[in-house]
C-alpha cells in the first residue's frame, strides 16, 4: 500500500535564500504527521508547498508525491484538481475562511455538489447529515458573522471534507479558540486517522501535538531539528530547541512567586457590562492593588475585552462603579493589545511614536531607552515601522511605551495569544518582572487556564450573565 504523502528533500526558496528545508517525510493512510515550531519557523510553508499555494515570490524544490503521484510537477490547474478531492485543507482562521455573504449551509452544500459531484438532493442530504454529526443543527441558515469560532471551524471542516478527501491538512487549527472549543477541534482531527485518513497538522502547541500523536517534525527557522514519533519526541526531546518549545507550554511553566502588594489602586463594585442591549455579565467586584498580577479568564464572547474597557474608563458601565484611587493619574491605566501591530500607528516609525509619548509626559528619553534595554530591545529597531519588527519585539516595545507614562495599572488583553510559545513565555515573564519592580498592577486577560494558574497571583473566571443565552 502506497503512502498518502511522500516528501523528499523539500525546500522553499525566496530568490536564492532558503526559507525552509530541506525536509523529507512520508505519511501513510491512517497516519498522522504533526509539524511543530515557533512562528516564522516555516511550518506553513510545508503545507503550502504540498498544496501548491505558495505566494508567487516563493519557489519550492524537492519532490512531493500525493497518493503516489508526483504533485510538484503538475500544472497549477491540474494541481488544483487535487484540492478537496485528494487533499482537504482546514483553514487557520475559520471565521475569515468562510464567505461572509453566504449562509453556512450553502458553503457546505456547494462542496458536496460541485466538488463531490452529488446531485442537488443528495448534496442537501449529505450536508444535513454533516451538520447533524458536527452538532451544527440550527446553524444552517446563519451567516459566518453569526457563528462562533468553534462553529465556524466545524462548518469549515464540513465544507473541506465534503468530497471525502483522504488527506487532511490542518494549519494551526486551534488558533484563537478557547480551551473548550480547542479540545473539540482536536477530537475532530483525531478522528481522521482513526477512520483511515491521513492527517497533517501544523501547530505550535505541544499539547495539540500530544493529543494527535503519530509522527512529528520540529522546525526552527526553517531547519529541521528533530523528526520521529510524537510521543517519543515529546517525552524525550533530543534537541534543546524542542526542549525549550516544550518548556514554553504553559502547562510546564513554573508557578510564579507571589507579588508583594501595595495599596489599592482600583475598586470595582457590582459592575455589569453590556454590549449593545445584551448584558454580558453582572455583579463583578474587584479590588486591585499595586504590584498585583491578576488573570481574567472565561470562554470567548463572555466580554473579557469589554470588561477591560470598562476598567480603563473607555466604556460606560451598564451599572455599578469603577473607582480609581485618587493617586492614580489620568494616564495611570494603560493597555496592552492582543495584536501588537494593530496597537501602533502603522505608517510612523517606532521612535517617532515613542518620542511623542515621552515628550507629552516629559519623560526623559534615556529612561525610555533604559526600559527598552531591560526588555531586550535594541534602540536600532526603533527606526523601523511597526510592520518591520516581529510581533514579540513589538509587544515588548508596547510595554516600554506604556511604561513611559508611568502607569499604576496595566490591562493586558491576551497580549501573547498571537505570539509563539517561547516568545509568549519570555514576554509574560518580563511583564511580571516589570510589575514587581515598578509596583504596577497587571490585569491579564487570557483564555488559557494554564497561563492564568502559573503566572498570576489570582485568577477571576468570568461566567455569563444568567439571562443571556448563547
Amino acid at each position: 500500500m502506497s503512502s498518502s504523502i511522500v516528501v523528499k528533500a523539500l525546500s522553499v526558496f525566496a530568490g536564492a535564500e532558503r526559507l525552509m528545508g530541506p525536509v523529507s517525510f512520508q505519511v501513510n493512510p491512517g497516519g498522522t504527521l504533526v509539524v511543530m515550531g515557533e512562528t516564522g519557523a516555516g511550518k506553513s510553508l510545508i503545507a503550502q508547498a504540498i498544496l501548491g499555494t505558495l505566494p508567487a515570490a516563493l519557489r519550492a524544490e524537492g519532490e512531493i508525491y500525493i497518493n503516489a503521484n508526483r504533485a510538484d510537477q503538475l500544472s497549477p490547474v491540474e494541481r488544483a484538481k487535487l484540492w478537496g478531492r485528494d487533499i482537504a485543507t482546514l483553514p487557520q482562521e475559520p471565521w475569515r475562511a468562510l464567505d461572509p455573504l453566504m449562509r453556512s449551509f450553502g458553503q457546505v452544500t456547494e462542496a458536496h455538489r460541485l466538488v463531490a459531484r452529488l446531485s442537488p438532493r443528495e448534496a442537501n442530504k449529505a450536508t444535513q447529515k454533516a451538520f447533524e454529526t458536527l452538532s451544527l443543527t440550527g446553524a444552517e441558515q446563519r451567516l459566518p458573522s453569526a457563528l462562533s469560532g468553534g462553529m465556524a471551524q466545524r462548518v469549515a471542516f464540513a465544507a473541506a471534507t465534503a468530497a471525502n478527501a483522504p488527506i487532511l491538512l490542518a494549519d494551526e487549527p486551534t488558533k484563537g479558540l478557547d480551551a473548550e472549543r480547542h479540545s473539540k477541534v482536536i477530537d475532530l482531527l483525531a478522528e481522521v486517522p482513526q477512520a483511515g485518513g491521513t492527517l497533517l497538522a501544523i501547530t505550535h502547541e505541544a499539547s495539540v501535538a500530544r493529543r494527535l500523536g503519530g509522527m512529528m517534525l520540529v522546525l526552527r527557522e526553517g531547519t529541521l531539528v528533530e523528526q520521529g514519533q510524537t510521543t517519543k519526541i515529546l517525552n524525550a526531546p533530543t534537541d534543546s530547541y524542542t526542549q525549550s518549545l516544550l518548556d514554553a507550554d504553559p502547562l510546564n511553566w513554573p508557578v510564579s512567586t507571589p507579588s508583594s502588594l501595595g495599596d489599592t489602586v482600583l475598586t470595582v463594585k457590582d459592575l455589569s457590562v453590556a454590549r449593545g442591549h445584551k448584558t454580558l455579565f453582572q455583579g463583578f467586584n474587584l479590588d486591585l492593588r499595586e504590584g498585583e498580577k491578576l488573570a481574567l479568564t472565561g470562554p470567548s464572547g463572555i466580554g473579557k475585552t469589554t470588561l477591560l474597557d470598562a476598567l480603563a474608563g473607555l466604556l460606560k458601565p451598564q451599572s455599578g462603579t469603577v473607582l480609581r484611587d485618587p493617586s492614580l493619574s489620568r494616564h495611570g491605566i494603560q493597555k496592552l493589545y492582543q495584536d501588537p501591530p494593530a496597537a501602533f500607528p502603522d505608517r510612523i516609525s517606532l521612535s517617532r511614536t515613542l518620542k511623542d509619548v515621552a515628550r507629552l509626559h516629559r519623560t526623559d528619553w534615556n529612561e525610555v531607552l533604559h526600559h527598552l534595554e531591560q526588555l531586550g530591545i535594541s534602540p536600532a529597531l526603533l527606526n523601523r515601522r511597526p510592520d518591520e519588527v516581529s510581533g514579540g519585539e513589538l509587544q515588548r516595545i508596547s510595554i516600554a511605551r506604556a511604561l513611559t507614562v508611568k502607569p499604576k495599572i496595566l490591562l493586558a488583553d491576551e497580549p501573547t495569544s498571537r505570539l509563539d510559545p517561547i516568545t509568549q513565555r519570555e514576554t509574560l515573564a518580563m511583564l511580571a518582572g516589570i510589575a514587581a519592580k515598578n509596583q504596577i498592577a497587571i490585569v491579564l486577560v487570557t483564555h488559557d487556564q494554564n497561563i492564568a494558574q502559573k503566572w498570576a497571583d489570582r485568577t477571576i473566571s468570568l461566567t455569563a450573565a444568567p439571562e443571556s443565552t448563547e
Binding site: 461572509p100 455573504l101 453566504m102 462542496a111 473541506a160
Partner: protein, 318 residues
C-alpha cells in the same frame, strides 16, 4: 425573512426622509440662486422665447407684464411652494407649457440614457476590472490604469464625436444622433459609460483584488472549487458590494454628464432642458427640473440600497 422586510422598510423610510429634505433644499436653493442672478429676468426669458432675431426690449417688457415678474421674491417663492404642495410645478416661463409635461417626456429619455450608460459602463468596467483584479500589477493592469487616466481626462464631447466617427460614419453600425430607436441609444450610452468606467473599472479591480486576497477565496479554492466557480460563486458577489455602492456615488456625476451627451447626440433629455432653463431664467423649469433630478437621484440610490441588501444578507445600519 421578517427582518429583511424590516430592513427594507428602514431603507425606504431613510430615503423617503432624504427625498423630502432634498425637495425642500433643492427648491429653496435653486430659487434663491435664481433670485441672485444678475441681469433682468424679463430680458432673459424673452431671449429664451423669441430668439435673437426677434427678441428686443419691447418683448422683454411684454414678458414682464405677462409673468408678473415684478412681484416680490417671497410672493413668488410662496406661490411656488404652494403649488408644489399640490404637486403642481407650474408653467414654463419660456414656453408657457406645464413644467410637468415638459419634464415627463424628457425624463423618460434621460432615464433611458442614464440606464444605458450604467449598463455600458458595467459592460466595460466589469470585464476590465475583473481581468486586472485577477492580475494585479501585471502589464495589463498598468495599461488599463493608463487608459483609465486617459479616458478620465478626455472630455465627454470629444469622446462622443470620436465614437460617432468610428462607429457611425466609418463602420455605419449605429446612427449618429437622434432618438428613433434603441440603436440610437448605443453611442450616447457608451460615451457616458466609458467616462464612468474609467473610474469604476478601478473600483472593480480593487474590489476583486481584495476578494482574491481574502482567506475565504483561498479556502473556497482549497475545498475544491475551480477558479472559475470560485470567481462566479464567491468573488464576484463579494466584489459586487463596493461596486454597487460606487455606482450609487457615480449617479450624481452621471446626471451631469448627461447634459453634454444629450447635446452632442441631439437627445431630448432633461439635462439639456435644465441648461436651457437656466440660461432662459425659466425659474419654474429650473425648479421643476432640479427637483426631478434630485428626487431621481434619491430614487436611484434607493435602488442601490436595495440592491446592496439583496447582495449582502448581513444586517447593516443605513
Amino acid at each position: 425573512m421578517a427582518h429583511y422586510f424590516k430592513s427594507v422598510l428602514t431603507v425606504l423610510a431613510a430615503r423617503g426622509l432624504q427625498a423630502i429634505i432634498v425637495a425642500v433644499i433643492v427648491g429653496i436653493v435653486s430659487f434663491a440662486m435664481m433670485q441672485a442672478l444678475p441681469g433682468d429676468a424679463a430680458f432673459r426669458i424673452a431671449a429664451g422665447r423669441y430668439g435673437y432675431d426677434m427678441m428686443d426690449a419691447a418683448a422683454a417688457e411684454a414678458v414682464r407684464l405677462e409673468l408678473g415678474l415684478d412681484a416680490p421674491w417671497f410672493v413668488q417663492l410662496w406661490g411656488w411652494l404652494g403649488q408644489l404642495a399640490q404637486f403642481d410645478l407650474g408653467n414654463s416661463l419660456v414656453y408657457g407649457t406645464p413644467v410637468v409635461d415638459e419634464i415627463a417626456t424628457q425624463l423618460g429619455y434621460s432615464l433611458l440614457l442614464a440606464g444605458g450608460a450604467i449598463v455600458a459602463s458595467l459592460m466595460i468596467a466589469l470585464p476590465m476590472g475583473v481581468a486586472t483584479g485577477l492580475n494585479p500589477d501585471s502589464l495589463l493592469d498598468r495599461i488599463c490604469m493608463g487608459l483609465s487616466v486617459f479616458l478620465r481626462a478626455v472630455p465627454a464631447f470629444a469622446l462622443g464625436v470620436v465614437l460617432v466617427l468610428v462607429f457611425a460614419v466609418q463602420l455605419k453600425l449605429f446612427p449618429v444622433a437622434g432618438f428613433r430607436g434603441i440603436e440610437n441609444l448605443i453611442l450616447p450610452s457608451f460615451t457616458l459609460g466609458i467616462g464612468l468606467a474609467a473610474v469604476s473599472n478601478r473600483v472593480v479591480r480593487d474590489a476583486v483584488v481584495d476578494a482574491m486576497n481574502s482567506d475565504w477565496q483561498l479556502f473556497a479554492r482549497t475545498k475544491g472549487l475551480s477558479a472559475r466557480l470560485t470567481l462566479a460563486r464567491h468573488v464576484l458577489r463579494n466584489a459586487a458590494l463596493p461596486v454597487v455602492t460606487y455606482v450609487g456615488v457615480q449617479l450624481a456625476y452621471l446626471i451631469e454628464g448627461v447634459v453634454i451627451v444629450e447635446t452632442v447626440f441631439a437627445w431630448p433629455g432633461i439635462g439639456h432642458a435644465l441648461v436651457h432653463a437656466i440660461f432662459g431664467r425659466d425659474i419654474a423649469m429650473v425648479q421643476g427640473t432640479a427637483l426631478t433630478l434630485g428626487l431621481l437621484y434619491v430614487a436611484l440610490n434607493l435602488c442601490v440600497d436595495l440592491a446592496c441588501r439583496g447582495i449582502d444578507p448581513r444586517e447593516r445600519a443605513v
